[in-house]
């Protein structure tokens, strides 16, 4: 049985991390930068962040947070439903790969099921 996520292309690390960072609620660019660092230890510069956000907005996965529109100095961004689904599809792909790796004898160091 195929799942809808089968045909999806992998996300770039930057996009993936930004989506994860925004999963918990709207953040402004600098907030995303800090959150990605906390979550993954990856240091992304403003160019990567905003370049990715531009692409994410164009794809309809992220939108400017309408609640924060009154404060233009601190533009915030929020995940859309499509963005959330895209993130979930990526996780499906991760899970399959994890399962595959485990079946091929790669031990899971965390012991997670």
């Amino acid at each position: 049985m195929s799942t809808p996520g089968d045909a999806a292309e992998p996300l770039t690390p930057a996009v993936f991390h930004i989506l994860v960072a925004l999963a918990d609620g709207p953040l402004h660019g600098y907030g995303i930068m800090k959150r990605v660092e906390e979550d993954s230890g990856q240091e992304m510069g403003p160019g990567t962040i905003y370049g990715s956000i531009q692409r994410l907005e164009e794809a309809g996965w992220v939108q400017e947070d309408p609640d924060a529109a009154a404060a233009p100095r601190r533009r915030s961004f929020a995940l859309t439903a499509d963005g959330r689904s895209a993130l979930a599809a990526e996780l499906v792909r991760f899970r399959k790969l994890t399962h595959l790796a485990r079946e091929r004898g790669v031990a899971d160091p965390a012991g997670a099921s």
Binding site: G5, G45, G47, G51, E58, A59, S85, A88
Partner: protein
């Protein structure tokens, strides 16, 4: 902002030209701002080296290519990555398995949660079983909805003359019968019953048959039906007993009769009164007391027809009440009280279970938020906690049902004493029936709904930091809602606990006061043996005197017995009724009156009870027209004189209805002695007028014996003494005074134990709830606590701060508890009049104080502990 920063911002803005115009124009300011903040942080942390690192980082970032465009549409796999299956049932099974595993991994939470909710379910289920058995289940008779009690008994409403109103009706004449012959005299309770009895109650004899019409008709053959108990006890279940002649003495008719035993009632036959050991046909028309209304006849129409017969005057107006209602009228308030107590315990357990679930949700908030972040909808995120709650609910329901089932037997033993009447249908019918199962289902639904609500609340994001397990902001709507919910639950818990505790303390207080009552005499080793003389032989007062004196001597000769006295009605064991006593008119003094208990007594009674006369003499035997009186009688009849002055004065009972000596008024009696008061019953010292046994020997007398060694003569020993005087005289009863006192106090003791148990459980639960919630809140706010302590606040003061935060909820709960406790106290006093001596308000004040102190300590202690822990690690972590 420094000039160097301005320069850096300008330089960085120039570098941004590498980016496409649409990105630069839209986000340029934001990018410069982000760069500037990063530069600022780096400079503060590492000075010039930090600045250099940021510039390198920015340049590296510029070298990277702008990410490629993303597909406008990316396939959506559903709310969460499906694991082994994506269908609804598969997801549910997967989540249920995960919920069970999570519960197994948290044994402390699981045990506590299941334990608390099981306790609540057990208690409420037992209460529901009592409610169902007493008030909901119909009486075990055919067509019970048409059975009515007929009051008052009216000669105009006899069983022969009401065929147009009642399909079947029963009249009976209750009596005591003394069975004589082998294996000895046996006094049993029975009745003459109208011939409809068997069909009215749907009873088929176990062996033999019921009365035939010919036997029930005037002049019919003498026949008798006996109970299964008597058949077992006296005849060893011998089936050959049918057709045998039974000789008995009819106490009512005062003559010896013989009847043929024609039937034995079934073992499971239950009757509203216990007068069923011997049933004889009632041949003459007699007032009916219950019946089954004719089909299609409403109670109102039936009443109208009966009123026509009685004349319908207000005094004679017949009332028809459902037989079930009439039987359970006494029990109803106490059963409802039991229900209330059970319901309160369940509510407290429910609140605690929800509080625990809420705490667990909060501690698992980061996990929940991660799930939300990974795409789980609120429903899916709440599914796990809800399934955990349902698992706890199912365990609690199963455990509660099993525990309640196990506790039914001990409950049966004390229930009749507690509620005032036996279980309708017999104590075997105290079982978990359909209504109790509905109650169980309702409890399950309440628990499941509560857990679902908590799960839904936990699935709502309460702050951006939750994902990282950080400090809740406490300012978000979700956090406020959670805090209010916890506070409200705690207040509810305190209110319920206070209500039950007040009731429990009040009952325990009353029980202790009853136990402390000084009866006025030594009750140790004191037993009361009751003997009744039947038959024309004892019509003569002299024969009675001779018999009872000989019996007293015979008992006194037993080596175990040190003293014997004769009395009609012994203190603390009998329900003697007070009657109106008036003094004789004296010159210059109006007659005074009061209610006093008339007690027939031999002079030995005073020695046996250790009552030394305050004034006058008890020996030699007083004149027939004399009486000894208790101190309180002297004080009330002649209030302005010393009690010694009562000797020689005269009094009499206004209605002298002593057995076989009904006079109105009684003869004048001269006071021969004044003795100390004794307690005639558990309600206190009753004023007693002692009448000489020699002048008023009843057929029924109590023999008080003192057995100081604790080695009492057996019943057979006593029967042998009685039998040596007259084999036809049965031993009616034998009780110890201490035993009778304990039995009288048993309902209050049982109620006190029950309420105290309920109250102790709810108290422990509510304090545990306070402690748990504060521990959780303090841990959640560990960082802010740490900052406050780092800024100089003492851990004690932090604890006080938490206590102050909890105060409004605690106060609200205490206020509601005070109202509830006062209300419960009033109900208890109404239902158990012997409690009136205790003061419900003292207990309530004590309960509120203890709850307030315990509640504040339960809040202060965990907050202080958190404030005193390793906060450096907290701040650094």
């Amino acid at each position: 902002m420094t000039g160097r920063h301005r320069l850096a911002r300008f330089a960085y803005r120039l570098l941004l030209r590498r980016y496409p115009a649409r990105i630069r124009e839209r986000f340029g300011d934001d990018m410069v701002e982000a760069f500037s903040r990063r530069l600022d942080e780096a400079q503060q942390a590492s000075g010039l080296r930090g600045s250099a690192a940021v510039w390198l980082w920015a340049l590296r970032d510029l070298v990277r290519r702008v990410p490629p465009p993303l597909p406008a549409q990316r396939s959506v796999p559903g709310p969460l990555p499906p694991g082994r299956g994506s269908s609804g049932p598969a997801v549910l099974a997967q989540e249920a398995g995960a919920a069970v595993r999570r519960l197994l991994r948290a044994p402390a939470y699981t045990a506590l949660s299941v334990g608390i909710t099981t306790a609540g379910v057990t208690t409420a289920l037992l209460a529901a079983v009592v409610l169902e058995s007493y008030l909901l289940r119909p009486l075990p008779y055919p067509e019970p909805d048409r059975l009515v009690s007929v009051r008052p008994a009216s000669e105009a409403v006899g069983w022969r003359t009401t065929r147009d109103v009642f399909e079947r009706a029963a009249a009976w004449d209750l009596a005591g019968f003394t069975l004589v012959g082998d294996p000895g005299a046996d006094l049993v309770l029975g009745a003459r019953v109208s011939p409809d009895f068997d069909e009215l109650f749907g009873v088929e004899p176990a062996i033999g048959r019921f009365f035939s019409d010919a036997e029930a008709a005037p002049g019919g053959a003498p026949v008798v039906v006996i109970s299964h108990g008597l058949w077992t006890r006296r005849f060893g279940r011998d089936p050959e007993v049918i057709g045998r002649a039974i000789t008995y003495h009819d106490g009512e008719a005062n003559r010896r009769e013989v009847a043929e035993l024609i039937g034995v009632l079934p073992a499971d036959f239950w009757h509203l009164n216990g007068y069923t050991d011997v049933l004889l046909p009632l041949r003459e028309d007699a007032p009916i007391t219950m019946g089954r209304l004719a089909r299609g006849l409403t109670p109102a129409a039936a009443r109208a027809r009966l009123d026509d017969r009685t004349g319908g005057t207000p005094d004679e107006r017949i009332t028809l009440t459902s037989l079930h209602e009439a039987y359970t009228a006494r029990a109803r308030p106490r059963v409802l009280l039991f229900q209330l107590a059970g319901g309160l315990v369940f509510l407290v357990a429910l609140v605690n279970g929800l509080l625990l679930a809420l705490l667990r949700m909060e501690t698992r908030a980061p996990e929940t938020h991660l799930r939300r972040a990974l795409g789980a909808g609120r429903g899916r995120a709440a599914l796990g906690p809800v399934l955990e709650g349902i698992t706890v609910t199912l365990l609690a329901l199963a455990g509660g049902a099993a525990l309640a089932w196990a506790l039914l037997a001990p409950l049966q033993a004390g229930l009749a004493g507690l509620v005032g009447v036996g279980v309708p249908g017999g104590s075997d019918t105290l079982r978990i029936g359909p209504a109790s199962l509905v109650a169980l289902a309702v409890m399950g639904a309440a628990l499941a709904l509560g857990f679902a609500l908590v799960g839904a609340l936990g699935a709502v994001p309460t702050g951006s930091e939750s994902l990282r397990g950080g400090v809740a902001s406490g300012r978000s709507t979700g956090a406020r809602r959670g805090r209010r919910m916890r506070g409200g639950l705690m207040a509810l818990e305190v209110a319920l606990s206070a209500t039950l505790l007040a009731g429990g303390v009040f009952l325990v207080q009353s029980n202790r006061e009853l136990g402390r009552i000084d009866p006025g005499f030594d009750t140790r080793g004191l037993e009361v043996i009751t003997v009744g003389l039947t038959g024309p032989r004892y019509d003569d007062v002299g024969t009675r005197l001779t018999f009872f004196h000989a019996l007293a001597e015979g008992l006194h000769r037993r080596p175990e017995v040190t003293a014997v006295a004769l009395a009609r009605g012994a203190p603390l064991t009998s329900g003697l009724t007070a009657r109106r006593v008036v003094t004789a008119p004296e010159p210059g003094r109006a007659a005074s009156a009061m209610d006093a208990v008339p007690q027939i007594a031999s002079p030995e009674l005073f020695d046996l009870l250790g009552l030394t006369p305050i004034a006058g003499r008890l020996r030699p035997l007083p004149d027939p027209g004399s009486a000894a009186i208790g101190r309180s009688v002297a004080e009330r009849l002649w209030p302005d004189e010393p009690v010694q002055q009562a000797v020689g004065r005269r009094l009499r009972f206004e209605a002298w209805s002593m057995p076989e000596m009904t006079l109105d008024p009684g003869p004048w009696l001269t006071v021969s002695a004044v003795v100390p008061d004794v307690h005639m019953n558990e309600q206190g010292a009753a004023p007693v007028v002692y009448l000489p046994f020699e002048t008023t020997p009843s057929r029924w007398m109590d023999l008080l014996i003192r057995v100081p060694s604790g080695r009492s003569p057996t019943d057979d020993d006593i029967r042998s003494v009685i039998g040596s005087l007259d084999p036809g005289v049965p031993l009616y009863s034998r009780v110890s005074v201490d035993g009778a006192t304990a039995r009288n106090q048993a309902p209050i003791r049982l109620a006190a134990t029950m309420f105290a148990g309920f109250a102790a459980v709810t108290f422990a639960l509510s304090i545990l709830g306070f402690y748990g919630v504060t521990t959780w809140a303090a841990r959640r706010n560990r960082r802010s606590v740490a900052i406050r302590v780092a800024l100089g606040a003492r851990p004690d003061r932090v604890g006080v701060g938490f206590a102050v935060d909890a105060l409004p909820w605690l106060a609200l709960g205490l206020l509601a508890g005070a109202i509830g406790g006062g209300w419960l106290g009033q109900i208890l006093v109404r239902q158990m009049p012997t409690l009136a001596s205790a003061n419900p308000w003292t207990g309530l004040a004590l309960v509120l104080t203890v709850l307030a102190v315990a509640g504040l300590v339960a809040v202060w202690l965990p907050a202080r502990r958190v404030a005193g822990s390793d906060l450096r690690a907290t701040l650094e972590g």
